[in-house]
């Protein structure tokens, strides 16, 4: 009996150690999971404590900074196109005038941003640069450093005009969007005027790209009404050097300015006979230049 009792006693001590070890582990786990917020999940390692993102304030200054960033993007793109796209003659003169207009617009927006209590933003829009503008420029001018390398367009001057048309159309839709969002009527009028200037630049680009009278009115607009349906002007001549046709551009495309995306087709045709296509969406929250975003111009 005593032997059996000793055995039970040793087992009890072993069992005690086992239970004690388990308890220590549980205590450590509970301590790690503990905190002020009992519902929060446990943390492993030494990662810093996560904090919620601040709720961004969206006000007139943010809208104006966003428009400024688009103007800066367009200015940088036009500088590249002026130097590298092979434009000459009236189209090159027009692009230089366009750049002057955007310089003026950027200055106006900087002033309006200050008046709205914000800090002027003088850098390109990072969201558009990363997703749209960089890749479009590559398709027009080529990029040997890309993987795989991107060949230049078969007609960079033609595609520079198409890019300008899409950028000016994006400007138009952006100004229209923010006219409704900003508060002071005087600021709305200034944005509407900047949009009107962009609208004329887009129309001018269409005339250079498609020629006249072919580039005056889009077939879709003519077809909207029986009075104009039969007045289709012959489609612009296709001047492409390969098999892939180019979509014509028109000065008058809609009855009312639109908030929709500005589509674009540029670049050399691939093996399937297709060119690079994209569409520049009107700025939304993910493209806004919030007050917390800073840059060094």
């Amino acid at each position: 009996m005593s032997g059996s009792s000793d055995a039970n006693s040793r087992l009890s001590r072993r069992r005690l150690f086992e239970l004690g070890g388990t308890g220590a582990v549980l205590a450590a786990v509970l301590a790690a999971c503990g905190g002020d917020d009992g519902a929060a999940p446990g943390r492993v390692g030494f990662a810093p404590t996560a904090s919620d993102l601040p709720d961004p304030e969206v006000d007139d200054a943010v809208y104006l900074r966003t428009l400024s960033s688009l103007e800066q993007s367009i200015l940088a793109i036009y500088a590249r196109l002026q130097s590298d796209a092979g434009l000459d003659g009236p189209a090159a003169e027009a692009l230089a005038r366009f750049a002057d207009g955007h310089e003026s617009a950027a200055a106006t927006l900087g002033q309006l941003t200050g008046d709205a209590g914000g800090e002027a933003y003088e850098c390109p829009n990072p969201w558009y640069e990363e997703r749209y503008f960089g890749s479009t420029l590559d398709r027009i001018l080529g990029n040997d450093e890309a993987m795989p390398p991107v060949p230049p367009s078969d007609d960079s001057a033609r595609d520079a005009l198409a890019f300008a048309y899409a950028l000016e159309s994006l400007s138009v839709s952006s100004y229209l969007r923010f006219v409704e969002l900003v508060t002071p009527p005087a600021v709305r009028a200034q944005l509407a005027q900047l949009g009107a200037e962009a609208a004329r630049r887009a129309a001018t680009t269409a005339l250079y790209h498609s020629g006249v009278p072919e580039g005056y009115v889009s077939p879709e607009l003519l077809a909207l009404n029986p009075a104009t349906e039969g007045l289709q002007v012959e489609a612009p001549a296709d001047t492409t050097t390969d098999e892939a046709a180019i979509t014509p551009l028109y000065a008058l495309t809609d009855r009312f300015a639109q908030l929709g995306a500005a589509s674009l087709e540029v670049g050399a045709a691939d093996d399937a006979g297709l060119r690079y296509t994209t569409a520049f969406e009107t700025p939304a929250e993910n493209a806004y230049i919030y007050r917390s975003l800073t840059c060094s111009a």
């Binding site: 961004p56 304030e57 969206v58 006000d59 007139d60 200054a61 009236p90 003169e93 027009a94 005038r97 207009g101 003026s104 709205a116 209590g117 100004y175 229209l176 006219v179 409704e180 969002l181 900003v182 508060t183 009527p185 005087a186 709305r188 009028a189 200034q190 509407a192 005027q193 949009g195 009107a196 200037e197 609208a199 004329r200 630049r201 129309a203 001018t204 005339l207 006249v212 009278p213 072919e214 005056y216 009115v217 607009l221 003519l222 909207l224 009404n225 009075a227 104009t228 007045l231 289709q232 002007v233 000065a251 008058l252 809609d254 009855r255 009312f256 300015a257 939304a284 929250e285 806004y288």
Partner: protein, 171 residues
Amino acid sequence: MSSTPPGETSSSPRRPTAGDVELLALAQQFELAARELYDLALAAGDAQGDAGGALAVFTTIRENHDEYASALSASLGVAAPHVRDDATFEAMAADFDSADAASVAAAAYELESAAVANHLDFVGRIESAEAARVLTSLLLVESQHCTVLADLAGNGSDLAALLDNPAVGAS
């Protein structure tokens, strides 16, 4: 300065105020005068072909002004005047009543430039965000009318004529 959630419009009134209605009514009268001026031009030039695209342009712009008047009716409701601005019509009728497409385009360029300038002035005085958007959406296209008409009038090589609004000031 207002603060609004993303995607929301500003704190301005959505519906036109009494002052807005007065301005929108003037805008509609201008649009109806423009429509009737293009009617004159189309009637005078109806026998011509459309080799230069004038008929397509004038007809399209005429239809646009008709739609603008309708859009303004939607904003104005029962306050819509539905009558043209006689002063504008009478001042320009002789210039539009012509079979010379280039001279009509030159007159139309002046008309569209004035339309854009007037509407910009109204946008700067209207309180309703919705009414400001409607007026802006049409003046942006009227700006493009100007560019096409400048070319049609024979000024396609003049960048200032294509790009600048003489009634507003150079860009």
